[in-house]
Amino acid sequence: MTPLLDVQHLTVAFERPGSALKAVDDVSLTIQPGETLGLVGESGSGKSVTALAILRLLQPPARVLGGQILFEGRDLLQLTESEMRGVRGGRISLIFQEPMTALNPTMRVGDQIAEALTSHGVAKGDARRRVVELLDAVRITDAAKRARDFPHQLSGGMRQRVMIAIALACRPPLVIADEPTTALDVTIQAQVLEMLSELKDRFNLALLLITHDFGVIAEMADRVAVMRGGQLVEQGAVRQILREPSHEYTQRLLRAVPGMSKR
């Protein structure tokens, strides 16, 4: 089967006068339609930079030095900026870790979801109706009323649901979620993850789930890729990685997770 996303030999460097630090070093990974790939690593491993590179959201001094990002038959690295705008949010969307900083504090949340639709060509009247449907889909009760709230009027969990609604607005086949539940309490995290897997099935989404938490991986991922210092050290099926990690670094990371031996 042709993968939905096929990243080949991606290399990203942070360029400074006289030197270049490789934040992503020759990384290759694939995601099939409907699949969840967990991308795990510690801070500085290059997992978030990989995500930003896929969406071509890197800011200087970060620069893609080489590789290909094949998505739906096109190399994203070759697209023009205006073609890329159609991809972002339309075909691939991004859920950030911190919903408070990712949402616009001066816009009603309903308008922010609508904007995701209208900027991809949905008529205003249709957008209004779809906003309520989307808020229902992410299980925000009293959706029509909530759409008029500003982000600060919502709890952290609710804000993250709004972010997910924005990400799903155009029914993209691929969603990149960068530590989507790290800022949330564990009971709220459980609700958000549960909802995310439900929506994934319902809309047949593929998910690139970036996290440092092996528990979240075990709950969500089909396959896992482990990054360290910009390089991919190991990639495989979730059960194989969790039970018989072959790379020394993965083993060490798993041993460091409290309770790994018991649960």
Partner: protein, 293 residues
């Protein structure tokens, strides 16, 4: 006699109010909290954000003044201490903060940060203090060659070691560790936890370990209390509590922790906050196990 005996601790905040505002709402941040910690205990205080766990820790050290209650340290109620008496008592009770990025003064050198408590308490000559700082650096696994560096020159894990060294400078008996590893990467977390456990054995320390990570608490604490909206809802020996969680909130909290086995059965229990009965008293439900049910 327990080392620390907290009884009926209360801290309320009122929010809002003002000339043209509706009457203020009372937030019961810490609401009649009682527990004790024996010498050598690693006592875990767990809860989600807003549960009052950090406020409880700070009230014990009087970094926040509680409204009511009693905090008996070695039998003496520190809430009745004068300022100067309290300053003396703080030699025995120290805190390690969560965020090693914001809790260290960026303009001070690491060695000075660790030395400062000794100066404040007027201990030792400069030569003695320098020797003590060096000793503390080695104790927490930092190189004494780095004494003159600034916090920004250290990694997150190393910064937390500086924070720990500072807390240990006065030879305390009790350390309040407020989410000491939650800002760190998992492999660094493991190293800092190992250090805390090692120090407990070597220096006969007692810890109040405040955390939201249940897996971590299960692994390192011998006793645990679970807080929810300012109340302790369940408390007991770690094994008893984790084996037989009895308060509906504890059950919900434990069921929300992601399992590390992809094939483990997932039965999530939801807790309805509307059903929470604040006034239900704690009762003994097993050997060394209490719950407000």
């Amino acid at each position: 006699m327990p080392l620390l005996d907290v009884r009926h601790l209360v801290k309320h905040y009122s929010r809002g109010g003002g000339l043209f505002a509706p009457p203020p709402a009372v937030v019961r941040a810490v609401d009649d909290v009682s527990f004790y910690i024996d010498e050598g205990d690693m006592f875990g205080l767990v809860g989600e954000s807003g549960s009052g766990k950090s406020t409880t820790g700070r009230c014990i050290l009087r970094l926040i003044e509680p409204d009511r209650g009693e905090v008996a340290f070695r039998g003496e109620n520190v809430l009745e201490f004068s300022r100067s008496r309290m300053r003396l008592a703080r030699r025995d009770m120290q805190i390690v903060f969560q965020d090693p990025y914001s809790s260290l003064n960026p303009r001070m050198r690491a060695g000075d940060i660790v030395e400062e408590p000794l100066i404040i308490h007027g201990l030792g000559t400069p030569g003695e203090r320098a020797a003590r700082v060096k000793e503390l650096f080695e104790l927490v696994g930092l190189e004494s060659a780095h004494l003159r560096r600034y916090p920004r020159e250290f990694s997150g894990g190393q910064r937390q070691r500086i924070g720990i060294a500072r807390a240990l400078a006065l030879n305390p008996a009790l350390i309040v560790a407020d989410e000491p590893v939650s800002a760190l990467d998992v492999s660094i977390q493991a190293q800092v936890i190992e250090l805390l456990l090692d120090l407990r054995a070597r220096l006969r320390l007692t810890y109040l370990f405040i955390a939201h990570d249940l897996r971590l608490v299960e692994n390192i604490c011998n006793r645990v209390a679970v807080m929810y909206l300012g109340k302790i809802v369940e408390m007991g020996d770690t094994q008893a509590l984790f084996r037989n969680p009895s308060h509906p909130y504890t059950q919900a909290l434990l069921s929300a922790v992601p399992r590390l086995d992809p094939d483990a059965p997932r039965t999530r229990i939801e807790f309805d906050s509307e059903s929470f009965q604040r006034e239900t008293p704690m009762r003994e439900i097993g050997t060394s196990h209490w719950a407000a049910v």
